[in-house]
């Protein structure tokens, strides 16, 4: 097993015919992901590398089983694409696009949360948005809905990974792979200020996953998602968690590449995050390689 996605997950690619969409569709299929169709408004009826293209998610969904959609749409249309998938009843929506206006994301996330509540209260599957500005998610050896390098995730491992950063996700994945630990599922939640899924949303899934033994949380400065994660871990989790925080030496008031990575006043400081993890008994690695040491330690390996 794994969380969120596996060998049986049927995926549509929104924006498949664009450059990014096409490249990553190829890579996802090479990894083994069951991509069933693409969506590009105005190109409905065409095919792309043997896959049918539809004008809308609704059309794709009427013709294929769809468990997830991955969105490669330029920033101006990205939030609309999220809502299209969500309203069409796709239960898992992954937004890769970087540079989506924050106000668009606020509106989309609020609506997705509402649709999720409505769906769940009516016994439906709910709707989950991951991203934007994220590398997607991948269950090693099973299914990739994202843009991470395939090689790192070829074999299944037993460590769950959640990260705000793309490259650090790969770096940590590689280190876990080299250490012989490997990853069960890796979830890149994205570096924007307003995202669909946070650490605290993913942690319970790993807690419930019989094939995950420990979880690595890769946070960074800005916001209070790490604090919320620590609170959740403290109150609800039995499995061990190891954390890492990047940007600990960044000065306040400067946006460190990620729109969400900024210390404003006393919000988002590394001190606050370190204190929260300490309070939750979560060891925090000072360097990336130390993550491996700590994971081994918490697993008594």
């Amino acid at each position: 097993m794994s969380i969120l996605v596996n060998k049986d997950t049927h995926v549509i690619v929104v924006g498949m015919t664009g450059r990014e969409g096409a490249n990553h569709t190829k890579a996802m299929r090479e990894f083994g992901t069951q991509v069933v169709a693409g969506v590009t408004p105005g190109k409905g009826g065409q095919t792309h590398e043997g896959l049918p293209i539809y004008n809308s998610v609704a059309e794709a969904k009427a013709n294929h089983p769809v468990d997830a959609s991955i969105i490669f749409v330029p920033p101006a249309g990205a939030a609309d694409a999220v809502l299209e998938s969500a309203h069409a009843g796709v239960p898992l929506v992954i937004l890769i696009t970087e540079g989506v206006p924050t106000v668009d994301m606020m509106k989309a996330v609020q609506e997705v949360n509402r649709l999720n509540q409505e769906s769940l209260s009516q016994g439906g599957k709910g709707v989950r948005l991951i991203g934007g500005n994220c590398p997607g998610l991948i269950s090693s050896g099973e299914c990739k809905i994202g843009i991470m390098p395939n090689s790192i995730y070829a074999e299944k491992g037993r460590i769950g990974l959640i990260s705000r950063s793309g490259t650090l996700t790969y770096e940590a994945g590689k280190l876990l792979q080299l250490a012989g630990l490997g990853t069960s599922t890796t979830v890149g939640i994205g570096g924007d200020p307003v995202i669909g899924t946070t650490f605290a949303d993913v942690l319970p899934l790993f807690e419930a996953d019989p094939d995950t033994d420990a979880i690595v949380v890769i946070g960074e400065i800005g916001g209070a998602d790490e604090e919320a994660a620590a609170e959740y871990i403290k109150n609800n989790m039995k499995k061990p968690v190891v954390a890492f925080i990047s940007g600990r030496s960044a000065p306040a008031g400067k946006r460190m590449g990620h729109a969400g990575a900024i210390i404003m006043g006393n919000i988002g400081t590394p001190e606050s995050k370190l204190a929260a993890f300490k309070d939750a008994n979560v060891p925090v690695a000072d360097t990336m390689p130390e993550i491996i040491e700590l994971v081994k330690k918490v697993l008594n390996k």
């Binding site: 996330v109 490259t167 200020p193 600990r248 000065p251 590449g257 404003m264 360097t287």
Partner: protein, 387 residues
Amino acid sequence: MKLHEYQGKELLRQFGVNVQDGKVAYTPDEVRTIAREYGQPVVVKAQVHVGGRGKAGGVRFSPTIDKAHENAEKILGMDIKGLTVNKVLVTKAVDIDAGVEYYVGMIVDRNVQSFTLMASAEGGVEIEEVAAATPEKIIRHRVDPVTGLRPYEAREVAIKAGFKGNLNKIADMMVKMSKAALERDAVLVEINPLFIDADGTPLALDTKFEIDDNAMYRHKDLLSWRETEAEHPLEIEAAKYGFAYVKLDDGNVGVLGNGAGIVMTSLDVVNRAGAKPANFLDIGGGAKAEIVYNAVKLVSKDSDVKAIFINIFGGITRADEVAKGVIQALNEGILTKPVRMRIAGTAETEAKALLAEVNSPLIQMYPDMFQAAEAAAQDANNAGEKK
């Protein structure tokens, strides 16, 4: 994109907010003309993109026309945190004692996945100070990003914050500020102080306004407000290449990498190695020689930089492409500082071969980021000592 006070005021005025009258001037004589026109005490305020203008002497009350001229002479050309003041806003002065000063603002708040409206009766000081000393004096309220702030919500917040004055007018101003924030894609809007006069009418005396860069495509009318001369010249050049670049104070090691997370971590590693990063530079995904070349060129121009640390991780990045970019910079004579790099990618052997061919002590590859960072830190610190 940060706006100047006078620009933020202009935006708020477009949404109907009652803003204190003022005019921009570039010379003391222009200030004199404006002060004469207003025919009352004025305030001369430096227009620069940094906080703490007041403490730096960049905001001066001017009871007479001559005094306004004199203050303008003092302020224009002065340096505030590294930025030269080349224009001032001249506003009518307000008799602060005849009213009260409050604070209202809206920020993008990751924790509520929307804007948070903040209101405090402790106006006129930095809100961070209030937050630190007496957080209970700031009323926070999540604003629905679809509907915006409603009048009744604004009234409730104003009541909770203990605002005195015309409740409906104050709430109306907050609603208009919310409209401005949502429609103009603000990251941050502040009205501080929000002055309430003896009649209870609100008036915006000072503002901060910052717009989401990702949304600038729908605010083309504001593009001309971007002032490259008010930004760090290297930040302007970085923007041209599409790099995310931040100049950091007191650093000596130039840092570049692919991805915000890895660059942030690189800063941390440089710090641990005993040096100080001089910048943050994210070159984005898929590093080709050309991109690396541009990045190295950019960082080399920073006179604070004594050594460069390159940290690349990518499944598809080729080490030889990175090496080629650095070598090009060397060959063109741009690279005069040592480059210490770690590249996790394919073609490491090819990269080493290229570097061996060049055989310059200025370029070295290391197997992990710590060794590369430590080498860069040592080089930078040594260069500093030599000076």
